[in-house]
Symmetry: C2
């Protein structure tokens, strides 16, 4: 099954598996909801899944697939390999994570490997998982503060908006800085955006 909101990509993938004997494209979906519906009907062995989609996104779709159809192996196929995307996909339980610049043969191999119960990782994704010494994630509350910082809010405004004291805002930010390895709010929002946290 192919899940991607871009018609071009869906057609491209379908074409790539068109004359491959042991692989058949049994369904296509343009978003998460369609994917769940198609999975029930078409019963695919493997799903190639984009992460960025309108409506129900890739991670949410994968989580529901894991509970409804645990036998379906999901391979993430996306353009990005940000830490946040990769870790969330791993946590959701995927059988593979490839980037869209992967050549045709790699995709064939990946689908076969996944169907056989194996796992496939793009090199850059693998290294992203390994070279993660202290990838501390800010807590939900801390991210909430950081989001307001990204909008240009001062500590006092954040305090008012979140109904907490200004001191608390500063404490949250101090922790955010430590976790992201930065020293200023400007650098913090940059790192957060690069990691896909905002």
């Amino acid at each position: 099954m192919i899940v991607d909101d871009h018609p071009v990509v869906r057609d491209g993938l379908r074409g790539m598996f068109d004359h491959v004997g042991d692989i058949e494209v049994v369904a296509e979906a343009a978003d998460g909801f369609q994917a769940l519906a198609m999975a029930r009907r078409a019963r695919p062995h493997v799903a190639l899944m984009d992460l960025r989609m309108p409506g129900l996104d890739g991670i949410g779709t994968i989580e529901r697939l894991r509970t409804d159809h645990p036998q379906i192996k999901v391979i993430v196929l996306t353009t990005y390999d940000t830490d946040a995307d990769v870790t969330r996909a791993m946590a959701a339980g995927v059988a593979g994570y490839l980037l869209k610049d992967a050549p045709r043969e790699e995709l064939h191999r990946a689908v076969r490997t996944a169907a056989a119960g194996g796992a496939v990782l793009a090199p850059s994704v693998a290294s992203a998982l390994i070279s993660r010494p202290a990838a501390q994630e800010p807590s939900p509350r801390e991210l909430e503060v950081l989001r307001l910082v990204a909008r240009g809010a001062a500590n006092k405004e954040i305090a008012r908006a979140l109904l907490i004291s200004e001191t608390t805002v500063k404490t949250h930010l101090k922790h955010v800085f430590a976790k992201l390895g930065v020293e200023t709010r400007a650098a913090a929002v940059v790192v957060a955006m690069e990691r896909g946290l905002l």
Copy 2:
């Protein structure tokens, strides 16, 4: 001619034009240099061009195409519609700007329109061009300062790094804030990243 670094997308586009009588895919390229070489050999009427590519990127490729082969109409086909991408593409002289979620028929129409000398814009791109009353661009020097801000530098450090006084740094930043419509450095880097300026 199709220019895109993703094999999947190239195949998808080729497939989409496969059984269309009046359109023929005469060349494919995975980056800008290949595109220039193929353009010379295959003499396409229209080029579908991705912007983000390794090596020579889309804008650079378009600029060279415009001088070497001004008769080739270029349609940008990309995932992003950030202000920076759109304006740079327009400045480079493209015949169209579409997003990758465009359906097959739209692509067909776009290629025919471009070949006939017309212009095609995706709705969101068109509105991005229109709703730009005061889209002030920071000057190169101002962007240089902003880049250091994004790395977490204090004004004093920026001054040292750029060999100017701290006062000048503040002046540059004041102008940046005004141009981006923000009030803090954190918000400034966010807006700059969203507009593709960093």
